[in-house]
Symmetry: C2
Subunit: 226 residues, 2 copies
DNA sequence: GTCTATATGACGATAGAC
DNA sequence: GTCTATCGTCATATAGAC
């Protein structure tokens, strides 16, 4: 006899809840011990089950890391979508848009150091995120690129450079801040970080470089400096 | 009876050689498997000895990582000293000095990805480099800071910003390039790297920002843009 | 369908024989 | 200085209880 739809629903819900619980605890362990410090045994211990039971929900430790990667990328994407939505649609300067976005991505990454290690570094031998898990990360770079394209169309970003290059350079700046902060002073909170404090200066540097050059007749041809 | 000095020398030399051999093989394994993929058993296997014998030379796996950290930092410092010595003593522009130095540090880091992971990231749970192991890394930042101070004294670096800030921002740029290259496309060689290719543009951006502002009477007051 | 008990082989590390 | 033997822990596979 086939089970009633209600039963299937309940089972699916229960299963989904258990998966979420495993991921919650796994993220907590990673936050305490570092990404590579995650152990299936420790997850089971904290859940009050036996280690093999974890394999009912995740076929391997790598599958677990993959789910955690997807989760982190999804959450970072959400955080960036939120800050993006709150920004003015018709900004006056490049910096006005880029600084809040940069600050938010650095803040999120510092406050979720474990996810950041997984997203920005390669701490687990043999683990590479699957295409599906990587998808939100791709969506994030697309979000940035689309935003920069809009800014270029609005005349706030130099028309003579490729949007892809601007996106790449901006990403490098931000990941540099995060990387330095997390590896040299991981315990410093975002607001007191030696390296996260560099974000405004670096965004300013980026904005100067990628803002349209004013014509020579106006305030001097800055392009002539190079 | 006390051993002859010659015997002590020979023992010391033999011991030092074994230590170097262990580090060579360990670095090789890290390069193949990633930093966290290093195992004492694998070292022993490749050396034709038993795992406990490794502990005669290194009291723990962390001590081994510490020696590898020190070695990597020392080698990167040497590479930077070399390129620094080859650069002109009286440069004409900021970029002329910074670009070759930046290129070399990115190149070294990409070509020695395993050491870089250890130096720039925190891939090993519970491992923090000792003060001694960290010393060459400190010497490296001092080398950069001293060079920037010279450039400031020579009038090539803005006098109104702290050298420490310039050093921090430059370090962030470079580590951002390395971090993005190694985490997103670790197999790409330096010359073909998507992210290492950004080095010239980023150094140019840095040089623009940190070069002394020309007075308004000359080519326009760039400072007024901010 | 869900979990447990049990087993395998690798790991880091230690103790003690030679 | 190197070995054997051993401990506890880990990820993981399988077989079976409920």
């Amino acid at each position: 006899m086939a089970p009633l739809p209600a039963t299937i629903d309940r089972r699916h819900r229960r299963r989904a809840e258990t998966i979420e619980e495993i991921l919650d605890i796994a993220a907590q362990i990673m936050a305490e011990q570092g990404v590579a410090g995650l152990s299936v045994g420790e997850i089971a211990r904290r859940m009050g089950i036996r280690p093999p039971s974890v394999y009912v929900y995740f076929s391997s430790k790598h599958a677990l890391y993959d789910a955690l990667f997807a989760r982190g990328a999804r959450r970072l994407l959400e955080a960036m979508k939120s800050v993006n939505a709150a920004l003015p649609a018709k900004p006056a300067t490049l910096e006005e848009i880029l600084l809040p976005a940069a600050q938010e991505s650095v803040r999120w990454s510092i406050e979720h150091a474990a996810y950041s290690q997984l997203l920005f570094w390669r701490p687990v031998p043999g683990f590479t995120p699957s295409t599906e898990a990587y998808q939100p990360a791709v969506a994030l770079t697309e979000l940035v690129r689309d935003r920069l394209k809009e800014l270029q169309d609005a005349g706030l970003l130099r028309a003579d450079v490729a949007v892809d290059q601007a996106e790449r350079d901006l990403t490098i700046l931000i990941s540099g801040v995060i990387s330095q902060q997390l590896s040299n002073a991981p315990q410093e909170p975002f607001d007191e970080g030696r390296f996260s404090a560099a974000t405004p200066a670096l965004v300013s540097m980026f904005a100067d470089y990628y803002s349209p050059r004013r014509p020579a007749t106006e305030t001097g041809d800055r392009g002539a400096l190079r």
